[in-house]
Structures are given as C-alpha cells and as structure tokens.
C-alpha cells in the first residue's frame, strides 16, 4: 500500500494536484492513503522549495507543477 502525500499550503495548484493524484491512483486501482501536508516545517524538511509537491512512500517524486492525470499514473506505477 502506497503512502501519498501532497505538500503545499492549500492554494489552487495544491488542490488540483491532490485531485489529479487521487484520480490517477484510483484509476490504477492501487491501494493507497493520501494526506495533505500544509505544515511549512514539514515541507521544508522534505527539501521542497516550490509547492505543490508529491511524495510517494517518503520520496519526493515531483514538485513545482501540476502534471496531468496520465503523467501521474506513469509516476505512480
């Protein structure tokens, strides 16, 4: 089961990334938990300087942009 985290303070891009990631994960039929991390200390600790960011099982997979659902699927797979 994969742990997905969306890092960002909650602006429009963060919301879009969360939606796209959820759609992608659901379409892939994988088991996952998703949480939104808005605490800046945690974001900084992850080494992220440009939100939003996607973290999969503790590893930062992308940051600073909102890719399409298709692209997220290739990242998650």
């Amino acid at each position: 089961m994969k742990t997905l985290q969306i890092l960002g303070p909650g602006c429009a891009n963060c919301v879009r990334l969360a939606n796209n990631v959820e759609a992608a994960a659901t379409q892939l039929g994988m088991e996952f938990t998703m949480e939104k991390v808005t605490d800046f200390q945690a974001i900084v600790l992850a080494g992220v300087m440009k939100t939003p960011a996607l973290v999969v099982d503790g590893q930062v997979k992308l940051y600073g942009r909102v890719p399409s659902v298709e692209e997220i699927k290739t990242i998650l797979a």
């Binding site: 602006c11 963060c14 600790l45 080494g47 992220v48 300087m49 440009k50 930062v60 992308l62 942009r65």
Partner: protein, 359 residues
C-alpha cells in the same frame, strides 16, 4: 532525411533512438512554423482592425465609437498573441532555473553583489506566492543573507512576464524597459537596505532552527519535456488570465473612445504633486494580476495621467500583494514585514516622482 540516414547505421538501437529524435525535430519544425504563422497574423492586425471598424461597421475614424472599436479589435488579439508567445518562451527559459540552482548561486554571496544577482534571478526563477515560505526558509538556512533573499522576493512577483508583455504590447518597449529596469533597481536597493537594517532577529526563531532536507532530485529535463512545460505554462497562465485581459482592454477601449483628452491630467497629471503618493496608497492594498490593470492604465495614460504616477500605481498593485504578506507572516515578525513593505513603498514613491519629473 538526415535522421533516416544516420539511423540506418545504428540498426540495433535505431528503433529506440528514432522516436525521441524524430519527435524533437518534429516539435522544432512545428514551433518554427508556428512562429512564422504568428508573425504573419501579428503584423496585419492593425490593418484588420481598421478595416473592421471603419469599412465593415462604417464608423468614422474620428468618431468615439469607431475609435473605441478599432482599439478593441486591434489590441485584444495583439495582446493575447504576445502573451501566448512570451509565456511559452519564458516557460521554457524557466525550465532551466530551479530554486535549488538559484539558492546554490546565492549562498554565501556578499551583500551588494548578492542583491544584484538575486534580483536578476528573481525574474527568471519560477515563483508563486505560496512557495514564498518554503523558498524563504530554504534560502536563509543555507547561507543566503537576509537582504539578498528579500531582493529575490521583491523582484520575483513584480517583474513577471505577463506584466512585461502587456507593457510592451500596449506602451512599447521603452516603458516596458523602464518598468523592468526600475523594478530591478528597487529590488536590489530595497533588499540591500533591509540587509543593512540587520533585522535578522525579526525572523521567526523557528526558521533558523529549521533543517532544510536534502534537495529533491534534480530532474534532468529533455527538450521535449521543456516544450511541454512551456505549453503547460501557456495553458495555466494565459488560460487563467485571458478574461481579465479582454475586460481590461474593453474598459481601456471605452476610456480611449469616450473620455476627453486631458481628463486625467487634473487628478493624475504631473501638476498634482499628491498624485504619486495617492496612487501608491490606493495600489498597495490592491491585489490584482497585471493582466487586468495594465490595459486600463494604458488608456489613462493616453488621457493625461503622468507616467511616473502610472508606474508607481502599477508597481504598488503588482509588486506588493496582501496575500503574500499574510503568508510571509508565518516566517517574519510584524516589524520585519513593516520594514519590507515600507522600504519597497519608498522605492516606488521615488520612482514615481522621478519619472514625473523627468518626462
């Protein structure tokens, strides 16, 4: 043809190399063709607008309606086309710069040189308001001086490509250049001033205690990915901004056609010494994207508003945003936020007065 010849000798992995090479070449050809088509349309826009307003609709060039319609039909596609091209290009340029790169360049620089670099990098490094906090923390905890970080934070939102495109499209390259140049100067000098004020103790203590994690992996981007980023930028930015551009141009067209020539001279003209501080006072609390404000400002300028007043207004609206100050409250104590807003405001006032005086 060249690709096919070279692949003939690489039989084994020819099939794997072929796809990215072909698609990169195809993209380049498409982009080249696109630019040619763009140019062909672009330099005919004025003629088409004249034809539409004066021939098709039978308006007289001297009439208010005719003049407003011509303005609208000319400026709308012209500005949108410029935006498309520049946002795409800047999107690609930005793909070469990451906050990590910028931070590495700025870490450990001395004050003055650092301020100059930071302001310049602020223009090309991708930045959005919600990234202000992680970026700020990332910078100050890795040896970038406080003042240098501020130079970056001032330049980044103020000198953005949408503002520059609109200024260029509606006012010409001189005004766009003045805006960019004075904006950079303000960023450099204000940042340097804040550094001199030695206000490090007004940064929230937890910031300096925070540990920045190792930078996330740097993706080495291929050209195809960079072009994709450019297209994404167009979709995101132009897609979000175009209604404001059209609305702004429509208002501008109305002012252009219907407001008497020197109407604005009285309240926004050079003679009114209080026009600059008033413009800044109104502008600072306002938060708007450049797209909505600039077309309106263009028409005001034509009706007698002074250039310095108008510049000051634009910089206050675009450069200082309330949402960003509120976000920065998480890492800066109020005194430092006040110093930040204060120093930048003074800089803007000086620019405003200077240009009213010079022009």
């Amino acid at each position: 043809m060249a690709i096919q010849i070279s692949n003939a000798t690489d039989v084994k992995d020819g099939s794997q190399k072929k796809a990215p090479q072909e698609s990169a070449l195809r993209s380049a050809v498409l982009i080249g063709a696109g630019i040619v088509v763009w140019w062909m349309i672009y330099h005919r826009l004025s003629a088409v607008a004249d034809w539409f307003a004066f021939t098709i609709l039978h308006c007289s060039p001297a009439s208010r309606l005719g003049s407003a319609i011509q303005f609208m039909v000319f400026e709308t596609p012209k500005v949108l086309m410029l935006l498309l091209l520049v946002v795409f290009g800047v999107g690609i340029v930005r793909s070469f710069f990451t906050p990590q790169h910028t931070r590495a360049i700025l870490a450990g620089t001395r004050e003055s040189m650092g301020n100059v670099l930071a302001a310049l990098l602020g223009v090309v490094t991708p930045f959005c308001s919600c990234s202000a906090v992680p970026l700020f923390i990332g910078f100050v905890t890795t040896g970038v001086p406080l003042g240098v970080t501020f130079s970056f934070l001032i330049a980044a939102p103020m000198i953005n490509e949408v503002a520059l495109v609109l200024l260029f499209g509606l006012f010409g390259w001189r005004v766009a250049g003045i805006y960019a140049g004075t904006g950079l100067l303000i960023a450099m000098i204000a940042g340097w001033t804040i550094g001199r004020l030695k206000m490090e103790r007004y940064v929230e203590p937890w910031v300096y205690a925070a540990q920045m994690g190792d930078s996330a992996e740097q993706e080495q981007l291929s050209w195809a990915e960079r072009i994709h980023l450019g297209r994404e930028a167009v979709r995101d930015i132009v897609g979000k901004v175009w209604p404001y551009v059209i609305a702004g141009i429509a208002v501008g067209a109305g002012i252009h056609g219907y407001v008497p020539q020197n109407f604005m001279a009285h309240i926004m003209g050079k003679g009114a010494w209080w026009s600059v501080p008033l413009a800044v006072l109104i502008g600072v609390p306002m938060y708007s994207n450049a797209a909505g404000i600039i077309p309106i400002v263009q028409a005001l300028l034509q009706k007698g508003a002074a250039l310095g007043t108008v510049l000051a207004f634009m910089m206050s609206v675009i450069g200082l945003s309330f949402p960003e100050t509120i976000i920065l409250r998480k890492v800066l104590r109020p005194q430092l936020i006040a110093a930040f807003v204060g120093v930048v405001t003074v800089g803007i006032l000086i620019v405003g007065y200077l240009f009213n005086f010079l022009m």
